[in-house]
């Protein structure tokens, strides 16, 4: 799952000499929060976020009697941009981007090639879209929660029991640490006949989870 399959390639960017007033307008008009700053040959110079602009605004108001808008028109993007932002390469993966977003607490990364030219941008929105797709949420279906021993072959038994009924899978989520030695498996099944699936699983000795207990997070159970 390489980033270049999910990134936005039609990137809206700014030049270093652009005023932050204009940058703010471009971001508002396009509904974006990250504006890569590039030179004429598309080399990435930095990135400006809507937050950078908001932070720059009070000092603009204080610094000049001529009104905030005038001063905003004077400040250039290069003065407030983050130089050397964290970037990713097109051949890194979605998982890389996901983990890096969590680590750096950042909502988007510019995607640059080996020579530092901007190829695209990957944002939390691109990841969300991909994961909504992976979960199969666009297909009519229903989730079932099952607890199994954390042993090889456990998953196969579940898949076999469900497949026997001719039911197809939209996705399967696994919470690896549910409780000591147990994992929770959540198949998203493309059927309305969920009662039949539950009956089959119970008859095969599986323990079904109370829906009110379902959780995808790794929380210690009390």
């Amino acid at each position: 799952m390489f980033i270049d399959k999910s990134m936005t390639t039609d990137v809206i960017s700014a030049g270093p000499e652009m005023s932050i007033a204009e940058a703010r307008e471009i971001m508002a008009k396009n509904g974006i929060r990250h504006l890569p700053v590039v030179s004429e040959d598309k080399t990435l110079l930095g990135i400006v976020t809507d937050r950078d602009i908001r932070t720059a605004m009070p000092s603009a108001v204080l610094g000049q009697a001529g009104g905030a808008e005038n001063r905003l028109a004077d400040i250039k993007v290069k003065e407030i941009m983050t130089t050397r932002p964290v970037t990713v390469s097109p051949c890194q993966t979605l998982e890389d981007a996901l983990l890096m977003m969590e680590m750096h607490k950042v909502g988007a990364f510019p995607v640059v090639d080996q020579v530092g030219k901007l190829q695209g941008i990957i944002s939390i929105r691109d990841l969300l879209r991909a994961f909504v797709n992976v979960l199969g949420l666009r297909d009519p279906g229903a989730l079932v929660g099952i607890v199994v021993e954390d042993k090889p072959g456990g998953m196969k038994k579940i898949v076999d029991a469900i497949s026997e009924l001719g039911v197809s899978f939209g996705s399967i989520l696994v919470v690896r640490v549910w409780e000591e030695g147990k994992r929770a498996v959540f198949p998203y099944l493309l059927t309305t006949n969920i009662a039949r699936v539950k009956k089959q699983l119970r008859e095969k000795g599986f323990t079904l989870l109370d829906p009110m207990e379902w959780c995808l997070d790794e929380v210690a159970k009390t």
Binding site: L165, L190, T191, N193, I194, K199, D210, W214
Partner: protein, 330 residues
């Protein structure tokens, strides 16, 4: 007592779904037996059944899909698109008759021959999309009914209430851009139940924004939560919309005895919902209401549920409580 129509035909039993499938002909047989044994059948006006004209079905479904459905039945392919949608050679004809009967019900109601009606039909309809069968549903009965009211009878504000435990994805999608058809559904929260749509933030699109409303109920909940959400969401919405007629997607799978969901509505809970809907029909629509069967699979409770349902349509609720009070005294 109201002039209440009943739509039923033994040919609705000819749609067979095979072993292990809950949407079986017996559902209708036990429902009709329940209504008859309560002495209600003779109080109802029978609606004649005939095949629907294609032009009305095409107001909702694409000709390509209709053709695919017809062909799959003719060739006895066993299922349409997904094993959920089991078909037999008679399924297409049964679905055509169900829609035709519903359109006849509308004609009788609009002509003043009946005041309201219950349509005991199979297959159900609310999951069926314009171009796809889903969740045991092939033709979206209630959606075709609404379009027929719009185009044949020029009704300008139609309210649909769907209390099946599953969200009526098909009905919502068909009308999500239509400001003149208000779709309200109350169902188990989509993160826990089929089909995964009908979240509370889904409110219609474009000109239809605000004419779709979803109330979601968490697993384990029942009467109290339904009363709370219907009072909070549906009553004020219909007070603003003021439907000229109400169509009900009447599903009974939210009952505690029905294992298709984790929702625990009681028999009395269903009566409360139907009484509330009938009161709204009186208030805004001159009593005009057509209830169309969707899901409901617990054969042991269906007779009682539908007996109560029809009794409420007939306006016999008071008498019944009177009767029960007397029987308690003796």
């Amino acid at each position: 007592m109201k002039k209440t129509g009943i739509l039923y035909d033994e040919r609705f039993l000819l749609h067979k779904t095979g072993e292990g499938h809950p949407e079986i002909p017996e559902r209708l047989s036990v429902i009709m037996r329940g209504i008859e044994e309560a002495g209600l059948l003779s109080k109802l006006v029978a609606v004649p059944v005939s095949e629907a004209r294609m032009k009305w079905i095409e107001k909702v479904h694409s000709p390509k899909y209709i053709h695919r459905f017809a062909e799959a039945c003719m060739l006895d392919l066993g299922e349409l698109g997904d094993p959920d949608n089991q078909i037999c050679p008679q399924t297409y004809d049964t679905a055509l008759l169900a829609v035709g009967g519903i359109l006849n019900t509308i004609d009788m109601l609009m002509d003043g021959k009946i005041e309201n009606a219950f349509c005991a039909v199979r297959p159900p309809g609310h999951h069926a999309e314009m171009m796809e069968a889903y969740g045991f549903c092939f033709f979206n009965n209630v959606a075709i009914a609404a379009r027929y009211l719009q185009y044949r009878w020029n009704v300008s504000r139609i309210g649909i209430i769907d209390f099946d435990v599953h969200h009526g994805n098909g009905t919502q999608h068909i009308f999500e851009q239509d400001a003149d058809v208000f779709y309200y559904s109350i169902h188990e929260h989509p993160s826990f139940a089929y089909p995964g749509t009908g979240r509370e933030f889904e409110k219609g699109t474009g000109p239809g924004l605000g004419a779709t409303l979803n109330s979601t109920v968490l697993p384990g909940q029942g009467d109290e939560e339904y009363m709370h959400k219907i009072t909070r969401d549906l009553l004020p919405a219909f007070d603003l919309f003021k439907p000229e007629i109400i169509l009900v997607s009447a599903g009974f799978d939210a009952h505690a005895a029905d294992d298709m969901s984790d929702i625990n509505l009681s028999t009395q809970g269903f009566s409360w919902i139907m009484e509330t809907i009938c009161e709204m029909a009186e208030r805004y629509a001159g009593g005009r209401l057509i209830s169309i069967l969707e899901g409901g699979y617990a054969l042991d409770v269906l007779p009682e549920l539908l007996k109560n349902h029809v009794k409420i349509l007939l306006g016999l609720k008071e008498e019944q409580t009177e009767l029960e009070r007397k029987s308690h005294v003796h």
